[in-house]
């Protein structure tokens, strides 16, 4: 039985905001003034962040995760492919997960097919190809039109998959991206193509697309609990509609993890970074205070009837992750797991027991967390949490999915 795969995700936040940022600015996204960028202090910042991911590869994480954001303080990675290229060159092991390129924001998806194929060659077949439609902030950043963006997105994914699998040259008869000659060189190293991961919420339509094409489902939610278990069940049911059986590695989730020698040390060392992340980085994204751009009537990409359901089943004044008030509140959201190796192990096992998911994508650096402590936390996780999690996960999966028990176990990289 293949154990849980443990990935290190870096968002590369901007750590040098002024202390009074939250009082003075209504968002960390799209319109946050870039005069706040301190070029001198930021020298070496992207190298350090990239090195933290290289370190993850060295100490035994199963992979490194990157994603695409624009014009914000939450993630300084408008082009994750550039960081992925650096990682492909600097590391020899671990998957490189780009989750993902935001397809409606790219002039031509063929370029994404080409760059991903390059990355797969440069990394010797270690690329996981993520595709995402982008959410509210990205819509504003690039004037990606809201309502048609979903349709554009699925057409772009289709074009890229065909570019990797259908012998070229061929003409692509797309509505949004018609192309006379599709014939990319190089082709990916992994055949027929690198694994494709799609971030999604709980939209049935999206899950059907993922199931139908054999992609993997990354649940885009930072908080976990019964909703995560429900998403896993929904995906399992959706796969069944297409005659497929759920397998834990078809699904991934994101969480933030901070490990210290003791619970006290973990909290002490991460307090400032966590609240910097919650109050500043999530302002405009997952916080009620300020203007939230991620979801809402101004980015109307879901059909009107889905919006009606959304209105009927949600309360717009419910606090979001960024509104977290204290440690107890934080503990309830099961989003940022903080503690000693024992504490972190127990809390993650509890999540896996309620939702048997095979890919854990973990953010270790939050906000302006000190870099040396970030590395220490990663190392404590890799040495004292990961081995136990891998073992426990195999038991959890075997119990829930006896039909998988006979499948050959993947080699566990120490």
């Amino acid at each position: 039985m293949k154990p849980v795969e443990l990935y290190c995700w870096h968002f590369m936040s901007y750590p040098y905001l002024p202390k009074d940022f939250d009082e003075k600015y209504d968002t960390g996204w799209v319109t946050v003034p870039n005069e706040l960028w301190d070029a001198e202090r930021s020298r070496g910042l992207l190298r350090e962040y990239t090195d933290q991911l290289v370190y993850a590869s060295e100490i035994g994480f199963d992979g490194m995760v990157l994603n695409e954001h624009h014009q914000n303080i939450y993630g300084l990675m408008p082009s994750p492919n550039i960081i992925a290229a650096a990682l492909a060159h600097a590391t020899r092991r671990g998957k490189i997960v780009v989750l993902g390129n935001l397809l409606p924001l790219h002039m031509n998806p063929l370029r994404v097919a080409e760059e991903y194929a390059m990355l797969d060659n440069m990394s010797d077949g270690r690329l996981v190809a993520g595709f995402a439609p982008g959410s509210g902030p990205e819509t504003f950043n690039y004037d990606a039109p809201s309502a048609p963006s979903r349709d554009q997105f699925w057409e772009a994914v289709d074009l890229i998959r065909e570019a990797w699998t259908r012998p070229g040259p061929f003409a692509y008869e797309g509505k949004h991206f018609p192309l006379r000659y599709v014939n990319p060189w190089p082709q990916p190293t992994q055949r027929p193509h690198p694994p494709i991961w799609i971030p999604a919420g709980r939209s049935k339509g999206t899950l059907r697309q993922i199931a139908k094409h054999g992609y993997s489902y990354f649940l885009s939610s930072r908080s976990h609990g019964s909703a995560t278990a429900k998403s896993q069940q929904l995906f399992e049911q959706t796969l069944a509609e297409y005659g497929q059986k759920y397998e834990p590695h078809r699904m991934g989730i994101l969480m933030s993890v901070v490990v210290g020698e003791t619970d006290e040390e973990a909290r002490e060392q991460s307090r400032e970074g966590i609240w910097y992340f919650l109050r500043n980085c999530l302002k405009g994204h997952q916080r009620r205070e300020g203007r939230q751009l991620t979801y809402g009537p101004g980015v109307p990409y879901i059909p009107s009837e889905e919006w009606r359901d959304f209105l009927a089943t949600t309360d717009p004044t419910t606090p979001l992750l960024g509104d977290t008030e204290d440690w107890d509140d934080l503990q309830r959201s099961q989003s940022i797991i903080v503690g000693s190796p024992d504490t972190v192990y127990e809390r993650i096992v509890a999540i896996l027991e309620s939702a048997p998911i095979g890919n854990l994508l973990m953010q270790f650096h939050l906000g302006n967390m000190p870099f040396d402590f970030t590395r220490k936390s990663m190392k404590l996780f890799a040495e004292q949490v990961a081995p136990r999690l891998r073992e426990a996960s195999q038991k959890i999966y075997a119990k829930r999915f006896p039909h998988l028990a006979d499948a050959p176990a993947m080699e566990v990289v120490k």
């Binding site: 039109p145 048609p148 203007r291």
Partner: protein
Amino acid sequence: MSARLIATTRAQVSVIEAGAGAPLVYLHGFADVHACMADLQPFHHALAKKRRLIAIALPGVNGSEELEDGTGVDDVLFRLLETIDALDLGAFDLVGHCAGGWFAAELAVRHPDRVKSLTLIGATGLFVSGQLIGDIFMQAQPERGVDYKTLRAMLFSSADHPIALEHYPDIRGDIDTEVRRYQMLRFGSFVGFRPPYFYNRSLIDRLYRARMPTRVIWGEKDGMVPLAHAEAYAKNLPGAGGKPVIIKGAGHAVHLEAPEAVAAAIAELLVGA
């Protein structure tokens, strides 16, 4: 007043009608019938005293079928023409507010023989350098989950205007109203989210074709479409008399805030049967 769905050659379209006599086609904007309010407002009733008013709901809005993805302005105009054909209207007076005003201008330059008179109220449609049309999508994202103050300030003369507070309150309001507002934003995102932002750079040089009697009416405090757009329309539309009618103290939704004054400005166009 009657609301009904009519079948064009390709789609179901929602229309609300009132009054009798020669037809007047009304194309709505954001703060308007169909796009926010379910029923006609005092301004529309004032027009219906002189004409058979037909307020057509734009695609995807208030019961009208949505257009397919990838839609452009041309598809919107053909939907309107198909609706007008289905109603067998012949020639008609044409009034439009905001984006509805843009479509009215586009129809008038294409079919000047069909449009007896043209009224543009706070209309988008033109590109005027340095005078960008406001980003209604950004303002439609509430602050603190429910605060629509900046959206009200864009659409009305003040965020505290009673009509603004009635239709855009700082609570999750009546779901049908919220869905109508959403539908109009969703429709708008097909034609105004990315550049061109609710405008057509070619339109200004085509305006000379619309020689029918014309009124260009703007609220003095329009927070969405700058007054420079009113001047540009009035200067380039031959029937507009060279100057816009500016209603003092009113905002972008001037027809809601000052219905009598706007109706009076149009009245001279609506002579005869």
